[in-house]
Amino acid sequence: MAGTCLTVDRLSVVFESRSGRHAAVRDASFEVGEGRMVGLVGESGSGKTATGLALLGLHDPDTTTVAGSAVFAGTELVGLTEPEANGLRGSRLGMIFQDPMTALNPLLTIGTQVTETIRVHDGLGRAAARERAIEVLGRVGMPDPANRFRRYPHELSGGLRQRAMIAAAIACRPRLLVADEPTTALDLTIQAQILRLLRTLCDEDGISVLLITHDLGAVGAVCDDVVTMYAGEVVEIGPTAEVLDRPRHPYTARLMAARPRIDGWDEHLDVIPGRVPSPSTTPSGCLFKPRCREAQDVCGEPQVLTPLLPGRSVRCIRAAEPAGVVA
């Protein structure tokens, strides 16, 4: 396996508010390998977006405490000053979000926005930056890039806006792209195209991707590895085929079972009873226990993320049992 692009070690994100402390991310540890696509999955409230924002340094420093470590290409991300974080974002660390309308400036043409990124971070002159911007727009599949260069975000379809945001994100050849629900708001057809584009950028340009999504289908289609989060904790890590085909954590298994299947005739959709616990919960034992069909008394004890094989870890008492016992 190639080197590691991002190593997250016991990352925690705590929001402080009048009502108390809310742990959005609890001691999360995982890696993103060089040139790999890693899916970070979980329901709303699992802490996946808080993890992404903390990595990018986009959390609100007045209300949020980030602790632990996240080393990206030799740089510690936790505790960076705002100028340092700014220097990384948009250059070596790219980001894309669900809604390009909020990420793109509505007053500037998409060409200007991509060109700005290149000029700020790579210090290219106006003409060279423009040339590169058009090339990048073409690279992300923008039809007729020289013409679209002069368009404003509102003049583009949702899919093309998402391409424009990806262009701005990869214009300075980042090592890592953090993509938070980049396809959720798009039509199925465009979703498939954007996922394929991300995969291509990973394969051909060597950009590692952290794909934050609730869609296990998207992860199965393009990701190399999966990290499942539940209530702020990482509960399962492994290669996509392993985790989705043979989930070892009951939560991953239940998520897979709750997914509608296009061949699910005469079947009933499986429901995970209960709700994700509130971030203000102080954990005692496994956080999934109240919703778990296989819970035992011992699950009331704290569970740790236990490595089973290289690259495969599970936070469940039963994961240590011989394979095949865990359904």
Binding site: E43, S44, R139, V140, G141, M142, P143, S157, G158, G159, L160, R163, D187, L188, T189, I190, Q191, A192, Q193, I194, L195, R196, L197, R199, T200, D203, E204, H214, D215, L216, G217, A218, V219, G220, A221, V222, T240, A241, L244, D245, R254, L255, M256, A258, R259, P260, R261, I262, D263, G264, W265, D266, E267, H268, L269, D270, V271, I272
Partner: protein, 356 residues
């Protein structure tokens, strides 16, 4: 045989756009029997929500006739329409924005009954029962919408739609914004309520994978036209129109290794300026020369299952020539691309069969 609950013929809806007109729904026909669920699928801009608005009589239609529940539905006006509206109700995608933020949940659910002349007291009692049934119990009923989660608000929308005992409910992306487990809960609830209250659904969604769990019939909409329609299982297991096939192969599969065989390329064109001939031809991997010129007719491909595609016409006189994807395809820059070389007919045996 009894008449269908809903019968739509030649329905066209046009919007004025600048100086021109945009035909959002273009001469569509369909029937829906009581107790059945018709799923309407297609991309944004295909006209799905306009079909809903036209059925709900929220936008005027240019042509066509709608017969519903024994009424000449498209002719109803003013007070008569208001009196009958309870027969057809609506569940939106974002229930939060359709509820009055200053009203307690139970008041919002009781409102349709009060408007229809029920006493406030009885309306509140029935709203309470209805909310109990959809799983929103006790003190939750006295809360304000912003105090509730997305799943709970969706339950309120269902209660509000069902309180006036409709025959038909139109669900417009009613579960699309929910997490997978919540989505399963709401779909299961809709299925239970359908049996319990003898409901008929028009289920508009872009989430095709939900169809096996709720749909009896499917209509695939593309730029305002139904390009394929039939029994849900027949359409999904044996799709005949290249657009339906493309939609199905755009579906990401969690099962690793099952690739996206032939997802639809490019984007849906501007509905104000639809392509000539078959509207799908610029994105179609199988397009023939005639597809750009002649509009295809509706062909019956199996019992009760029809599609509009030139490839389904049993002439065999023309040979397939693919259009150049390079000019119309913004999405494909990498491997896994389905180029013209790989779009040979053997990948669609059903089409080939139909030609011979």
């Amino acid at each position: 045989m009894s008449a269908p609950l809903l019968s739509v013929r030649d329905l066209t809806v046009e919007y004025r756009v600048g100086r021109g007109r945009l035909r959002a729904v273009d001469h569509i026909d369909f029937d829906l029997d009581a107790g059945q669920t018709l799923a309407v699928i297609g991309e944004s801009g295909s006209g799905k929500s306009t079909v809903a608005s036209a059925l709900l009589r929220l936008v005027p239609h240019t042509t066509g006739r709608i017969d519903f529940d024994g009424l000449r539905w498209d002719d109803l006006k003013g007070a008569a329409l208001r009196r009958e509206r309870h027969r057809m109700q609506f569940i939106p995608q974002d229930a939060g924005s359709s509820l009055d933020p200053r009203w307690r949940v139970r008041e919002s659910v009781a409102e349709p009954l009060v408007v229809a002349g029920t006493s406030a007291r009885e309306a509140r009692a029935r709203a309470g029962e209805m909310l109990d049934r959809v799983g929103l119990e006790g003190p939750l009923q006295e809360r304000f919408p912003h105090q509730l989660s997305g799943g709970q608000r969706q339950r309120i929308a269902i209660a509000r739609a069902l309180i006036s005992r409709p025959r038909l409910v139109i669900c417009d992306e009613a579960v699309s914004a929910l997490d997978v487990s919540l989505q399963a809960e709401i779909v299961n609830l809709l299925v239970e309520l359908r049996a319990e209250r003898e409901l008929t659904y028009v289920f508009i969604t872009h989430d095709i994978a939900l169809l096996p769990y709720i749909a009896d019939r499917v209509a695939v909409l593309y730029l305002g036209q139904i390009v394929e329609a039939g029994p849900a299982r027949s359409v999904l297991e044996n799709p005949q129109h290249p657009y339906t096939q493309g939609l199905l192969s755009s579906l990401p599969r969690a099962e690793p290794g099952i690739g996206q065989a032939r997802p639809v390329r490019g984007e849906i064109p501007d509905p104000a300026d639809p392509p000539s001939g078959c509207r799908f031809h610029p994105r179609c991997p199988l397009a023939l020369d005639e597809c750009a010129v002649v509009e295809p007719t509706v062909e019956l491909v199996a019992p009760d299952h029809a599609a509009s595609c030139h490839l389904l016409v049993p002439t065999g006189a023309t040979s397939p020539t693919t259009t150049d994807p390079g000019t119309t395809d913004p999405g494909i820059t990498g491997p896994g691309t389905t180029g013209p070389g790989t779009t040979a007919l053997p990948t669609t045996p059903s089409l080939r069969k139909a030609r011979s």
